[in-house]
Amino acid sequence: MQTSNSRTALAVAGVLSVTIASSAFAQTTLTIGTVNNGDMVRMERLASVYEEQNPGITLDFVVLEENVLRQRMTTDIAAGSGQFDIMTIGSYETPIWGANEWLVPLDDLPASYEVDDLFDSVRDGLSHDGTLYALPFYAESSMTYYRTDLFAEAGLDMPENPTWDQVRDFAQTLHDPSNDQYGICLRGLAGWGENMALVSTMVNAFGGRWFDMDWEPQLDSAEWNEAISFYVDLLGNYGPPGASSNGFNENLSLFNSGNCAMWVDATVAGAFVTDTSDSRVYDSVGFAAAPHQVTEKGSGWLWTWALAIPTSSQNQEEATDFIAWATSQEYSELVAAEDGIAAIPPGTRQSTYANDDYMAAAPFAAMTLAQMEKADPNDPTLEPVPYTGVQFVAISRFQSFGTNVGQQIAGALAGNMTVEQALQNSQQTVRREMVRGGYID
């Protein structure tokens, strides 16, 4: 009995010591929180090249789904717990966090980095008071993808710069659900970064805005009603079943498996829909501008995925060196050599679009460039607004009320409530939030 007891005790002690002991690292480990999309996964793979060049550095990638990542990063940085040395964040968080002094300012980049090569709008979006707080990994606007084969078959002609009305007519003609072919695929999944990205640009195109100059919410305006009614009608009648649970990824799958005649979404998808191994329709995709309606202002969005360093990181110097490498021209060349020139992270550097080889290899590049140049976060709407951001409002309350409104609109799309009801609830919610935030009384 005695022996068996002591053996149990030993086993327990063993487990405890394993639990407690954490291995000591002889070298610097950079913990990188990142999102699991194609370009980031590629960076994770190619980062081994960096590790070989810098023997003292070990890179530890924590890959998370976008929403989980955002929540984890925010908790970590707001609590200053310093678990991450590098964070993947967007153009929404960067200026807000920069203003809170949570991010390391990136003023002293080496000349070889060529900061001036970055697109101005991208750089502005990652700055607060003129100070850069994150380095852009890739940037995107939105555009219209369409199936050239289906358009030719039906004798239709997609203009370079279509209106939403035209898009709706095309969708009506090409909608053939009995053959699993849907007129148009659009984001329907609730979320400020999902359906609201598209919906906000539609509202912009229809002449609406989130707030007037006194921060009074405008969701009960005629423009919103018109835009949302159009959206619900278009996607509800000529979209795939289950549209209210489709986000970017779901729509990409649908488009790649040949189920969508049109799709309005991020320009970054250009590389995916033309990928010969992942797409069934790679040779018959056409590109047009994101549709406009009464105005072209804010009809295409602007978003950047960027790498930033929290001030709570213990390894700021090493981290800066890595993010400069991962967003450099050198990295682009590495990608070109390994995976082909069309796979270069898009939308960040002017030099990419001045490269003839790239423009020839990437059929979507010209439209991406045109859309990137058009989007202006500082002047996103027909009427003036007190906020910056095309498809988002750059204040910290937005991710909550944006998602709330997204829920209501998804509800209207699923047919659980009318557009009027959804907008009325939304107006109420946003107002509540703005009162709580002290913007209005």
Partner: protein
């Protein structure tokens, strides 16, 4: 022709066989489908009508092992769930013993209070716990996660073990006390051996619940202590077609506990009586 008793029974057994197998296959189907999908190409995974016969590929698994350190996640899961379950047993057994053999008027209330602690939604206390963990340097440590899981499962464990201990006739304890056994000996030599099955079942249940916990493990870890639920979070919604890879990652995440659960099913079936059996 008259059916004799024997063939009547045979018919009944055959009928029961058909019904039971149908039910079982229906219930098991999603898991079967997940495993099957994990051996398809991405295009085959979404094809309509679904493919049952196809050329299997190990590509998805290969890509996952290339990209992620599966063994690290799995090892963290093993350490944290086994550790928390053992720790839970060490604390729960004495508590259940005290409640079962020395009941006081407050025992029932204490028991129910313990169970009610489990009804607090974790989302409501995430920030306080997170800040606490930060200040105690427990973030992203296996120790911290072990403690959380132990506390999370402790109420259920105490209650389960309590019900088993109540089955033991008090006379047996009296007898051992007459022989001069002290409390430690009483627990280890009389009580524990007599409720081995129940203790094993409690341990297994705690293990399963810890293994599958997703909220705390995702929010309180980053990389060093991340468990398999965090591993799944990196495959849940990537760009492009992902069903086959998701299925492969899912299969990898559930396989250890599924196999372990099946192997220990005899213990579970024998032990999950909650003292309901005389």
């Amino acid at each position: 022709m008259l059916l004799n008793l024997h063939s009547h029974n045979l018919m009944k057994t055959l009928l029961a066989t058909v019904i039971c197998w149908t039910v079982a296959l229906l219930i098991f189907f999603p898991i079967f489908w997940m495993v099957l999908t994990s051996f398809k190409t991405e295009i085959a995974a979404i094809s309509m009508p679904p493919q049952f016969i196809f050329e299997p590929t190990l590509d998805n698994y290969r890509r996952i092992f290339e990209r992620t350190n599966y063994t690290r996640y799995a090892w963290n899961s093993v350490v944290v769930s086994v550790g928390s379950s053992i720790l839970g047993m060490i604390i729960a057994v004495p508590a259940a013993y005290a409640m079962a053999f020395y009941p006081s008027p407050r025992t029932k209330g204490t028991l129910l209070w313990m169970l009610s602690t489990k009804m607090l939604p974790p989302v409501g206390v995430l920030i306080p716990i997170y800040l606490l963990f930060r200040d105690l340097s427990l973030l992203d440590t296996r120790l911290g996660l072990t403690m959380i899981f132990m506390l999370m499962n402790l109420p259920i464990m105490v209650w389960m073990i309590y019900t088993y201990f109540r089955e033991i006739p008090p006379e047996i304890l009296e007898a051992s006390r007459m022989d001069g056994a002290n409390t430690r000996e009483e627990i280890l030599k009389v009580v524990v051996p007599m409720s081995k099955g129940g203790l094993a079942a409690s341990f297994l249940l705690a293990l399963i619940l810890s293994w599958n916990e997703a909220f705390w493990s995702l929010n309180l870890t980053a990389s060093r202590a991340a468990t398999l639920t965090a591993f799944i979070a990196s495959y849940s919604n990537p760009e492009g077609l992902f069903w086959a890879r998701l299925s492969a990652a899912s299969t990898l995440a559930v396989a250890p506990i599924l196999i372990f659960g099946w192997l220990s099913m005899k213990q579970l079936v024998r032990g999950l009586t909650f003292g309901a059996v005389k």
